[in-house]
């Protein structure tokens, strides 16, 4: 066992991680919180290892940065669960595990004789987590899927992008990350219950539902009888209003919330006072009723052309400042704005630096240290530890099969020879 993990919040627990590329984040989250996660890969390696980008752009299953991103704090064994002996070995691991995670196409595990009912018979307290695009059953359960398909189905896509072009997704795939994070929460809730009842259950997560959270509740517009929001580059169209949330700066763009109403109008008033003091508008413009302004636009008491004029004023203001100057104003004066940054700027962020966010892991097989995004939160008693770099294929076969399951070296060699591990 891993001595370093003794202090982790989930250190008494073992996770059997059979997830494909769809669900690898879920096991990593449990691993970051201290669980002993055994990544179970097919003999050629997980399909997640075939996804780029790769170190130096050279495709190699141990150098996939997608794999690295979501498989730290795991040990890897290879196992062919399409063969009877492979399935038997997997079943030997089940009684001592608290969690099993899988993200095959719905029904694939049951077809192998490895479905929830079978596993629960071996370990009634097991929490068995299935992550899929549309859920384990229902009319679309067997749909062919992909990140873009799920974002289209679940609601975020139609709201994102320029109004004169097709809807657009975030360029880094997101759908299964939402689902995997929901799965970790569901798994821990089921585990909490199993401690009380001694019984586990099947946790079934549908990515289509998970990504609906990324509509800011606009997915509810039709059931509520509200008008739909419509996409607009760097903003949103709501009713007659074009509401920008992305604004130009002298050297790039910023996100700025420029809205009205009893909560947000206060911030807008503060901003307009500053904009006026800097000579970008007259006092009559400054002194508008920013709390009521939105309602006035909807009722027609203020013409839409007035909103357009004011947006131009604010744009003249933001455009005359650099991103850094605007960020400084946000810190000092509480304006609702931040710069739009590149990944490079994120990695060099003084804020993240000052909080000691980044972690490095040694990759001895490549002779280099690699910088990873750090712990997702700071825990005072049980800080998240990055104990293991993402494993190479089957790196822990001997440690687990021989050291923990009691197979002899000869038995392991025999299994390897026949392609089962």
């Amino acid at each position: 066992m891993d001595g370093l993990s003794a202090m982790g919040m989930l250190s008494p627990y073992r996770v059997l991680d059979l997830a494909t590329e769809r669900g690898v984040l879920c096991g990593q989250l449990l691993g970051d919180m201290g669980a002993d996660v055994i990544k179970i890969e097919p003999p050629g390696g997980s399909p997640a290892r075939r996804l780029g980008p790769f170190v130096n752009d050279e495709p190699h299953p141990d150098r996939s940065l997608y794999w690295w991103a979501y498989n730290r704090n795991k040990r890897s064994i290879t196992l062919d669960i399409d063969r009877p002996e492979g399935r038997e070995l997997l079943k030997r691991l089940v009684p001592a595990a608290q969690f099993l995670i899988e993200s095959f196409n719905p029904g694939d595990m049951a077809a192998r004789g490895l479905g929830y009912e079978t596993m629960a018979a071996l370990n009634p307290a097991l929490v068995y987590v299935s992550i899929s695009a549309f859920g384990q059953d229902g009319p679309k359960a067997s749909y062919a899927d992909a990140d873009l398909i799920i974002m289209a189905a679940g609601g975020p896509l139609v709201l994102t992008g320029d109004d004169d072009r097709p809807p657009v997704r975030l360029s880094v795939p997101q759908a299964y990350l939402h689902a995997s994070a929901d799965a970790a929460v569901g798994a821990l809730a089921a585990h909490h219950e199993s401690v009380r009842s001694g019984r586990g259950q099947h946790v079934d997560v549908a990515a289509e539902q998970s990504v609906a959270l990324a509509t800011q509740s606009y997915v509810l517009a039709a059931p509520l009888g509200s008008v739909e929001a419509r996409r607009m580059s760097g903003g949103v169209k709501f009713g007659p209003l074009d509401i920008p949330l992305v604004w130009p700066a002298k050297d790039g763009y910023i996100a700025l919330t420029f809205l009205f109403g009893s909560a947000l109008g206060v911030f807008t008033r503060k901003l307009m006072e500053y904009v006026c003091a800097r000579g970008f508008c007259d006092e009559a413009t400054r002194d508008k009723d920013w709390i009521a302004f939105g309602d006035q636009l909807f009722s027609g008491a203020e013409p839409l052309s007035e909103f357009e004029r004011i947006k131009q004023i604010v744009m003249n203001f933001t455009r005359s400042h650099t991103k850094a100057e605007l960020l400084q104003l946000a810190v000092e004066r509480g304006f609702l704005m931040t710069p739009i940054t590149t990944i490079e700027e994120v990695v060099k962020s003084p804020q993240l630096e000052s909080r000691g966010y980044w972690r490095t892991l040694e990759h001895p097989e490549l002779g280099r240290r690699v910088t990873y995004p750090g712990p997702f939160a700071k825990f005072s008693a049980t800080p998240l530890e990055y104990r293991r770099r993402p494993p190479t294929i089957g790196e822990h076969n001997r440690e687990i099969y021989c050291g923990e399951m009691g197979l002899s070296e000869a038995e392991l060699a025999n299994l390897a020879e026949r392609g089962i591990v």
Binding site: D137, A152, P166, P167, A214, T382
Partner: protein, 405 residues
């Protein structure tokens, strides 16, 4: 108790407001946690002012966003500026296992409700502070919404067309990503507490949590020095990979070919066998290079089709495709209906309204939306009587002191 809701024994005192924080405790309430949510009688929760509105009409309880983030919680109205409110807060603290808050840093300290102060009363407290940038650092004072944390964390620059300004993900993106991390942090900390008796303080930066959704792009920079940027709908693995126009106003269909054989199936489906035999297009890299030509061929077919019909036709050939759905279409989506995604709840002032259902389906003890979101102070009396067991005299005295607004 065996089949009670999974978190039936969990008690949370919730100071959180707006979006990211309340979305996290909403998840825990669905699983059965008792969440007592403090709301100011004077300072309106911003979420109550945000669209979409029930019956398209603004009102103190009409926000579908607020309703969605706060269903299943008990709402107590408390004027935290009133010195007499302290006794209520400390009694709730003694009752709770977990305290959550999502103010900008310093607010809790100003009230004397920071972790160090609270743990003097309850040494094994679990407390979560969640805010945009975390409790420390030069930007810790930045307050606002998830669009701001998303922008400064790289999400905006990665969303949109390469030849245009960043479009940004829709709305307050980190407010959707971070609640899951908040909820799992609380559940793991509770497990640790159960085994060791030890509580702790959790400092969550919503930006830092959300960066885990960009990890591959971050590693591409820290390992390869490449700065990924927005790339429309193109994908590094698959081609074609896009969103195509369908018949009707603002109707679209997303189509992805994940293998060369799916590409050939697509060619046959759109009656362009000539493309399937074009050697320039035999690989994903070749198809990406000639994407303009391919997109035109696919669009010519999709324009003639309804988005739903195209989806069914392509899926019947095992090609990944789905119509791009807005709220009205999702409300008619048979899969979402099968999953029970829209849940009707009875709201005390609105009557029948809707929230989203729980996301992870638990087979034996499924989560349940037990009530609509509270109006301000809806459960004050209930909490004082049934959770704090105050007698009538004490309640009358606190009311007279203006503690509840």
């Amino acid at each position: 108790m065996a089949d009670a809701l999974p978190l039936a024994d969990v008690r949370i005192l919730d100071f959180m407001w707006v979006m990211a924080g309340p979305a996290a405790t909403r998840m825990l309430a669905d699983y059965g946690a008792t969440v007592v949510r403090i709301e100011s009688p004077t300072r309106v929760d911003t979420a109550r002012t945000l669209q979409p509105f029930h019956n398209n009409t603004p009102g103190p309880d009409s926000s579908g966003l607020f309703g969605n983030c706060n269903a299943g919680k008990l709402g107590i109205s408390l004027d935290l500026g009133n010195p007499r409110s302290r006794e209520v807060v400390f009694d709730l603290l003694r009752w709770a296992q977990v305290v959550t808050e999502s103010f900008s840093p310093k607010a809790m300290r100003a009230w004397g409700y920071d972790y160090e102060s609270l743990r003097k009363v309850k040494p094994d407290l679990i407390m979560v502070s969640t805010c945009l940038m975390g409790q420390s650092g030069p930007l810790s004072r930045i307050a606002g919404f998830g669009n701001m944390a998303a922008a400064i964390s790289g999400f905006h620059n990665l969303t949109g067309w390469a030849d245009r300004q960043p479009a940004g993900p829709f709305g307050a993106y980190t407010d959707y990503v971070s609640p899951r991390f908040t909820a799992m942090a609380i559940l793991a900390a509770l497990d640790h507490h159960r085994r060791t008796g030890e509580g702790q303080y959790i400092d969550q930066s919503q930006a830092e949590s959300s960066l885990h959704f960009l990890s591959p792009a971050i590693l591409d920079y820290t390992v390869n020095g490449r700065i990924q940027s927005r790339a429309g709908n193109s994908d590094r693995e698959f081609a074609p990979h896009g969103v195509y126009p369908a018949a009707g106003e603002d109707r679209w269909i997303a189509i992805v070919c994940q293998s060369d054989s799916q590409w050939r199936s697509l060619c046959s489906a759109i009656k362009r066998a000539d493309l399937a035999n074009d050697s320039r297009l035999a690989t994903a890299a070749g198809r990406r290079e000639h994407s303009a030509e391919i997109d035109e061929a696919i669009s010519a077919w999709t324009r003639e089709m309804g988005a739903g019909a195209a989806e069914a036709f392509l899926q019947s050939r095992a090609i990944a495709a789905h119509q791009v759905q807005n709220s009205a279409q999702i409300a008619r989506d048979p899969q979402m209906a099968h999953r029970g995604h829209f849940v009707e709840v009875n709201h005390s002032t609105l009557g029948k309204t809707f929230v989203e259902g729980p996301r992870a389906r638990l087979s034996r003890t499924p989560a349940r939306v037990r009530s609509a979101a509270p109006f301000v102070g809806e459960h004050t009396q209930h909490v004082l009587e049934n959770i704090l067991h105050y007698d009538e005299e004490r309640i009358t005295d606190l009311v007279a002191a203006g503690v509840f607004g």
